[in-house]
């Protein structure tokens, strides 16, 4: 239950954003079942958040080690391109999944090696793959949108199990899996230790390099999954645009979730809520009917407002204020 309490600011922000959208477009909360599948704007938020949510899972761990992974968007493009190529060549879904995930893993390990073993600064190390990776993806697709027609693979993007769309299930499952992995093992603690004080951690025998490598590898895996979802969703690989600038959204989600960019304590659940807040905002803007020139301004203003309310400085002020009120109440 302490957990829920820690998540309070994020949950509150999500609730506020949802309510605001509800005011702007009243049909927002209606969820129906259509074609045996949940249907409604709220469900759309859950589906559309999948890529950013998946990226945010990996990004949370990377950021916890004091790193950052700018390459996730490009990795999405690469794995999407490879998956589409394989699907178009008629390979079965398990093969496609295995190869794509393996590729994501390789990309993650590449980043991890640069950061952990060559001691290259994370932004730059991952910037390399961010630039080159999209090129690689385009090389694979030849710059065109590689389309395919394979219901089995498309199921990942637009299928549903028990009425719940697959993307929702995937990011929930991945969040749960990674969350359990790091919290039921000692990975979480060790990652936090490395992020807070790498030197001290190494001196107590924590294998900091290995852990850092592992976080980038997980981030690569998550990006691969996101890449496949995006590809399956549009029945094609768009190497030029898949995941473009999504790394910024993922980082933003992590920050809204309260994980410090300076590394250390992290919460995957909070990052996922952060991702939901961003996507709710995006969907809300689309529903609003405002001209697109306003999109960025609205997004910026809401994000600033949320972060302001969450900021430690404001929290301090509020608690002081609350204390004063209480004291006053007691006196009178």
């Amino acid at each position: 239950m302490t957990k829920l309490k820690q998540l309070r600011p994020q949950l509150l922000a999500l609730a506020v954003v949802l309510v605001l959208i509800g005011l702007i477009s009243p049909g927002f909360f209606s969820v129906t079942v259509q074609n045996g599948r949940l249907y409604g704007s709220l469900i759309d938020v859950g589906v559309r958040v999948a890529p950013v949510a998946l990226l945010a899972i990996g990004m949370t761990l990377v950021i916890a080690t004091k790193g950052i992974d700018l390459s996730v968007g490009a990795v999405m493009a690469i794995t999407g391109a490879v998956a589409a190529t394989l699907v178009a060549d008629g390979h079965s879904v398990p093969v496609v999944l295995a190869v794509s995930l393996a590729l994501g893993l390789v990309c993650g390990i590449w980043n991890g090696v640069l950061v952990a073993f060559l001691d290259i600064q994370p932004i730059i190390a991952t910037l390399i793959l961010m630039v080159a990776g999209r090129g690689i993806a385009q090389l694979i697709t030849g710059g065109v949108i590689l389309t395919f027609n394979d219901p089995a693979f498309s199921f990942i993007g637009s299928g549903a199990v028990l009425g719940i769309p697959m993307p929702i299930l995937i990011w929930l499952a991945m969040g749960l899996a990674v969350g359990l992995l790091v919290r039921r093992s000692a990975l979480g603690l060790l990652i936090e230790a490395v992020g807070i004080n790498r030197r001290a951690s190494m001196l107590v025998g924590v294998r900091a390099r290995f852990l850092i490598l592992a976080t980038y590898a997980i981030s690569g895996l998550c990006a691969a999954m996101a890449g496949m979802i995006v590809t399956a969703d549009i029945h094609g690989a768009d190497a030029n645009n898949a995941g473009l600038w999504l790394e910024l959204d993922a980082i933003l989600a992590v920050v809204i979730g309260g994980t410090s960019l300076a590394g250390g304590r992290f919460s995957i659940t909070a990052s996922l809520i952060g991702a939901l807040i961003i996507q709710a905002l995006n969907t809300g803007i689309l529903m609003s009917g405002w001209p697109p020139e306003f999109n960025l301004i609205v997004k910026a203003v809401v994000i600033v407002a949320i972060l302001t309310l969450q900021s430690p400085a404001v929290a301090d002020e509020l608690s002081v204020l609350r204390g004063m009120l209480r004291r006053k109440g007691a006196k009178s």
């Binding site: 074609n35 249907y39 704007s41 710059g143 549009i234 029945h235 030029n240 689309l286 009917g289």
Partner: protein, 296 residues
């Protein structure tokens, strides 16, 4: 033998890739040595590339300008170095003595063709249109919107109910269409979708299908570019019309260039490419076959 520098915008879409491929093919056919520079969507990179071409002393320069403004200075340098410049697929705001000619379509006209098709198609029935805009601020988005609006102006039965940017991509096209459908009574109120490019239209078609509606019938789909995939959709009856933007801008450009080099023939300042309308009646299958290997 000619050495020609080609400053391409980038590779943001299938159409762009096709233009690059076609340009390279055309150059090869004519024995032209093509120096290719990709600007990664940035004008400054294009300017750098042009300066680089000038420094290398190429015989001519092709530019597919990312934006209309800001070319005077560098084109002035090219002129000074006596290197002819030909613009591809977009006009620029610069004195026309700075370039030999511009081979482009008319983007406003493209939008207009799409709009006129819709006007004719719906007749007097009331029609609520949703619009998928291109990247906010990009010239095709601005011009194609303008042309479409011109075509439906005065038709009180056709209204644009919603208009959002889909960034020219399939994913965003699909996402935006999903929200349009939810916002417009489950899509029942929408009569047509106008997409600034085919990629967004393809995304929108998927969204329409997933909402349990029939694209092409319940909601008409009209878009621009004529990339191969839209013809597949047309063949399936899921898209209604597209306006062609030919990727072969380099062909006419090389033609006039070769003439100019041979005997100094000055071409007209604007070579307009055709903005041909394709509908389901125009043998989509055949067009698809003819286009699918062009590098889209």
């Amino acid at each position: 033998d000619l050495t020609v520098g080609f400053s391409q915008i980038g590779s943001e879409s299938g159409w762009r890739a096709a233009e690059t491929t076609v340009t390279q093919q055309q150059a090869k056919e004519r024995g032209i040595d093509l120096k290719f520079a990709d600007a990664q969507q940035k004008q400054e990179n294009q300017i750098k590339a042009v300066r680089g071409f000038i420094a290398q002393g190429v015989d001519a320069i092709l530019i597919a300008p990312v934006v209309a403004t800001g070319w005077d200075e560098v084109l002035g340098e090219a002129k000074e170095a006596e290197i002819p410049v030909i613009l591809l697929d977009r006009q620029i705001d610069a004195p026309d003595d700075l370039y030999l000619t511009a081979v482009t379509s008319d983007q406003v006209f493209e939008g207009k063709v799409a709009g006129e098709w819709l006007v004719k198609d719906v007749g007097d029935k009331a029609c609520k249109v949703v619009e998928l805009q291109g990247t906010t601020g990009s010239s095709p988005a601005i011009n194609r919107k303008k042309g479409f609006e011109e075509a439906i102006a005065g038709k009180s039965n056709i209204t644009i109910a919603r208009s959002q940017t889909g960034d020219f991509t399939r994913t965003k096209g699909k996402e935006v269409m999903e929200s349009f459908i939810k916002a417009e009574n489950g899509g029942k109120d929408i009569c047509a979708v106008y997409a600034h490019n085919d990629d967004m239209a393809v995304g929108a078609i998927q969204a329409i299908k997933e909402a349990g509606l029939k694209p092409g019938t319940d909601i008409k789909v009209v878009s621009i570019d004529a990339v191969p995939d839209i013809f597949l959709a047309m063949q399936a009856g899921e898209a209604n019309a597209t306006v062609e933007l030919t990727p072969n801008m380099a062909g006419p450009a090389f033609d006039v260039l070769e003439k100019f080099k041979a005997d100094g023939t000055l071409p007209p300042k604007w070579i307009q490419t055709e903005s041909k309308l394709f509908t389901q009646a125009d043998d989509p299958k055949g067009v698809y076959e003819s286009k699918k290997d062009l590098g889209y």
